[in-house]
């Protein structure tokens, strides 16, 4: 089996432990015909803004972009659910010919009147970028009329990749920040950036922080509210997870409001604990530090025995992962190690060179690091490394399953909280449930391997 499928992509794959030093090419346009697992600029914007639950999210374009993103993410809201709808201008041929501005204007009026949102995000799509609708002008007009922020998100699909969409989303959110009052915000306060409240994960982190005496001002990208975003500049600190998506917002807030930020991960035992310690350190409050230590030791005391029981079965199993952003992968490698497992493939859609370098650093020798992969490459490495479980999203699932390999959904569609200490237990159980399922012994690949072994 050819290791390198697409010659043009050979510099986007790195195997750790080779003689040559680390080197990877990334953040490139996907190779035509390679069946990239990546989506587009629009996708990047939509995913970041998605959890703002009391805003109207109107997609200006033909119906597909809106239809494919209708309620596809597990970002929970404790209140309004407006974000779960799919709003579109459903552009038709005549709109493409004569322009869609009037339609957009009327659609905005109609939807704002119906739903009374706290703000509206208007997403541009490929076609809008081509026909040249002045979305910004329409948004200004409706904003003035309706008295709520109406914010254009410039997310034409072809103008870059998903990272460009993150940036557009950050710029859109920046428009809200600074508009609200900041009275009464505790000096021990943070915003949560880059956490999407999948399966209620934000609530777990919030609970930890509150137990430490830290106020969460805005779940910027998780259980988000327009009013919270507007006063987010009043928080003392930004906690940034999933660097790719919200780093730009953190940098803007640092620039504009002087809000410092910490990069954190809530995945896995070590990183979760470190995040809490870092927050306590930041605020320099010994009582808070003590609370953090108490919290961590209480949680670990409950968690470890269960993890160790699961580890007995998982010891020596091999994992692969292909995720949206590379940052998550660092934590997952550690989480798998805690379970006695080895990560043999780690890839991402949108990693940066620094991400991959760090990934290579923390990986075991022989680990494949891949940028912007595709089914054929993934299949090759999954088989070559005889992987037991593949961590990815919906698009990666059938690749694993077709090969008879376990799977763990670690993407935005997940329904199981994987962050925090309880999330680590869920993760371990999830990995255990898939790796240890009896179904594998009936799969063609395993049966063939068993036959080989017997012969």
């Amino acid at each position: 089996m050819a290791k390198v499928v697409f010659e043009e992509r050979s510099d986007q794959i790195f195997e750790k432990g080779e003689d040559r030093p680390f080197r990877i090419s990334c953040d490139k346009q996907s190779l035509a015909g390679a069946v990239s697992q990546r989506a587009c600029v629009f996708c990047g914007s939509r995913v970041v803004l998605y959890p703002i639950a009391d805003a109207l999210h109107l997609i200006h374009g033909p119906v597909g972009c809106a239809a494919y993103t209708w309620d596809i993410r597990g970002a929970l809201s404790s209140g309004p659910m407006l974000h779960r709808h799919s709003f579109s201008t459903d552009l038709q041929e005549r709109d493409v010919v004569f322009g869609g501005e009037k339609k957009l204007e009327r659609a905005l009026r109609e939807l704002i009147a119906r739903h009374r949102p706290k703000a509206a995000f208007v997403y541009s799509t490929c076609i809008v970028g081509i026909i040249g609708d002045d979305m910004a002008a329409v948004c200004r007009k409706i904003e003035a009329e309706a008295g709520i922020p109406v914010i254009p998100v410039m997310s034409e699909g072809f103008k870059g990749n998903k990272r460009a969409g993150y940036a557009a989303a950050c710029r859109a959110m920046a428009r809200l920040i600074g508009q609200g009052p900041t009275e009464g915000i505790s000096p021990h306060s943070v915003n949560l950036l880059g956490d999407f409240n999948l399966a209620g994960e934000t609530w777990i982190i919030k609970r930890y922080l509150e137990q430490m005496g830290v106020e969460v001002v805005a779940g910027v990208t998780g259980d988000g509210r327009v009013a919270d975003l507007m006063r987010a500049h009043g928080a003392a600190l930004n906690l940034v997870q999933c660097s790719g998506a919200t780093m730009e917002l953190a940098r803007m807030m640092q620039r504009d409001y002087g809000t410092p930020f910490l990069r954190v991960s809530y995945l896995g035992v070590d990183d979760m604990a470190q995040a809490l310690y870092d927050v306590a350190d930041f605020f320099g409050d010994p009582l808070m530090a003590a609370r953090a230590q108490e919290l961590v030791s209480r949680e670990l005391g409950a968690l470890y025995p269960q993890l160790m029981e699961l580890r007995q079965d998982l010891q020596g199993k091999r994992a692969a992962m292909y995720v949206g952003g590379a940052f998550k992968a660092f934590s997952l490698i550690k989480a798998f190690r805690l379970l006695g497992m080895r990560v043999v493939l780690a890839g991402s859609q949108t990693g940066t060179e620094e991400d991959y370098e760090e990934l290579a650093r923390v990986s075991d020798p022989g680990t494949i690091i891949v940028d912007d992969a595709n089914p054929l490459e993934l299949m090759n490495y999954l088989l070559e490394k005889d992987v037991d479980v593949f961590v990815g999203g919906v698009k990666e699932r059938p690749i694993a399953y077709k090969l008879g390999i376990g799977f763990c959904d670690h993407n935005h569609e997940r329904k199981l909280a994987l962050e925090g200490f309880e999330g680590m237990l869920n993760f371990a159980r999830e990995i255990h449930a898939t790796v240890m399922s009896p179904v594998w012994r009936f799969t063609p690949r395993r049966m063939a391997l068993a036959k080989e072994a017997a012969a």
Partner: protein, 457 residues
């Protein structure tokens, strides 16, 4: 009793009851042997559609893309299209590439057929047999119609670009429309039972419902073959299923250009529609209906009788793709269920007439048929009706939940249940399964809601 149900006309679309054209085209191309679907446009389109199709079929759905960026949008997507074709042919081993455009490439004005001609002339690819793959092109701008229009456009493209004048070979062409893999298998079995050789186009029954494999098949086995498509002109007839096809359908093309007699039928759901299919098969084969199928029919009638009291006078809201809604509506009408609302996001123009036709003589009040609507409108109308049951794809779940009535899932997409690709709806057996599912949904709902919880129903 007769309330007028109003459906306001909105400018905005909320929770569309349709998808975009390229998705339908990709699906159709998955039904051609050795074919890779290819979207000429931005990378996101292919990925979104893959994800969407995977959620229903739970199978790998590899769709290539020319992955256009900003430069290509300005200077033309030709080079990327060609590079992508090279990769998909060389790496995927595609023997057929089904190239569908997107709104982006339609709007920037790429001449895809011209680019394909250039590509073939340049012949940059090497294939094991030295044969250039067949390249099928279809224009599918998202703003030009729904996924179903894209599907039919792709079927027309594959037939009209491949079928040639062919000596009569005694087979039939069977154009099933957008049905499930299980439905496709059923149609193949039924046709075979009459001794007819059928070219089933498209046939993704195996590519999108494949067995577990020891390795990843870049292009899964199965599908209508190039040879079958090429020889369609020699068939003794084309059976084309669907009331709501475009005027220029693949079947009508075969009739007009290759003189293949066309038999247009609805989806075989319910007794009348299934009988019509079997009547056609009897006529085309010169054989009687095999006993096993006659017995299936007899058992279906028996089940209609056994079940009629659970259904008489019940009210249904049916939604989804036009022909699936038409099929369900006709079947429910035969069972005494009132299809109070038949709704679709499609807009073939034939939907209201088709609903009227299949329910004719069976309903007291004409079934209300509305096309071009979204779930906002469907919800508003459904709330006025207060139906006993919803029948449609997964997209109506929240409405069903709000109304507190059961939803029987049929059609596409089904992504909140397991085995949507295995749902059989067609022919006597499929009608039977749908009937059982509908009655059981009603029984379960009543039983669970009832304080007493009757044990015998």
């Amino acid at each position: 009793m007769t309330r007028e149900i109003t459906s306001p006309d909105y400018v905005s679309t909320t929770n569309a009851c349709k998808l975009c054209m390229p998705l339908g085209a990709c699906l159709a191309f998955k039904g051609v042997e050795g074919a890779a679907p290819f979207l000429h446009g931005s990378q996101g389109c292919a990925t979104y559609m893959r994800r969407y199709l995977i959620s229903h079929f739970r199978e790998p759905v590899d769709i290539a893309s020319s992955s256009l960026g900003e430069n290509q949008a300005i200077f033309g997507g030709g080079p990327n299209l060609k590079k992508g074709l090279v990769n998909v042919i060389n790496k995927y081993g595609a023997k057929v590439v089904g190239i569908a455009t997107t709104c982006l490439t339609e709007t920037i004005g790429d001449d895809v057929p011209g680019l394909v001609r250039e590509f073939l002339a340049e012949a940059k690819v090497e294939t094991p047999d030295g044969q250039m793959p067949a390249l099928i092109t279809v224009p599918t701008p998202a703003y030009g119609g729904s996924h179903v229009d894209g599907f039919h456009a792709a079927v027309l493209a594959m037939v009209s670009q491949l079928a040639q004048p062919t000596p009569a070979h005694g087979g039939v062409n069977l154009l099933p429309g957008f049905v499930s893999p299980a439905d496709l298998r059923r149609l193949a079995t039924v046709t075979r039972a009459y001794g007819l050789r059928a070219a089933l186009a498209p046939d993704y029954s195996r590519t999108l419902d494949a067995p577990a494999m020891a390795t990843y098949e870049a292009l899964p086995a199965g599908g209508v073959s190039l040879n079958q498509l090429r020889a369609m002109g020699g068939a003794k007839a084309t059976i084309e299923l669907g009331h709501c096809l475009p005027g220029r359908s693949a079947g009508s093309w075969l009739e007009m250009y290759l003189n293949v007699p066309l038999r247009s039928l609805g989806l075989p759901m319910g007794v009348r529609a299934c009988d019509a299919l079997h009547q056609a098969l009897r006529e085309l084969s010169g054989r009687d209906t095999p006993e096993e199928i006659e017995l299936e029919r007899g058992r279906l009638i028996d089940a209609m009788i056994d079940g009629h009291k659970y259904l008489s006078g019940k009210t249904a809201v049916i939604y989804g793709d036009e022909d699936m809604v038409v099929g369900v509506a006709g079947w429910l009408a035969e069972l005494g269920v009132r299809p109070a609302l038949c709704a679709t996001g499609g807009k073939s123009g034939r939907f209201p007439a088709a609903i009227a036709e299949v329910t004719e003589g069976l309903v007291r009040q004409p079934a209300r048929a509305v096309d071009g609507v979204d779930f906002q409108q469907i919800g508003e109308m459904a709330r006025q009706i207060g139906p006993d049951i919803l029948v449609g794809n997964s997209k109506g779940y929240r409405l069903a939940r709000e109304l507190g009535v059961p939803l029987v899932r049929v059609g596409f997409p089904i992504h909140d249940r397991f085995g949507g690709q295995r749902l059989l709806c067609l022919d006597y057996q499929g009608s039977q399964e749908l009937l059982d599912r509908i009655i059981n949904a009603i029984l379960a709902h009543d039983q669970d809601r009832h304080h007493w919880g009757y044990g015998y129903l």
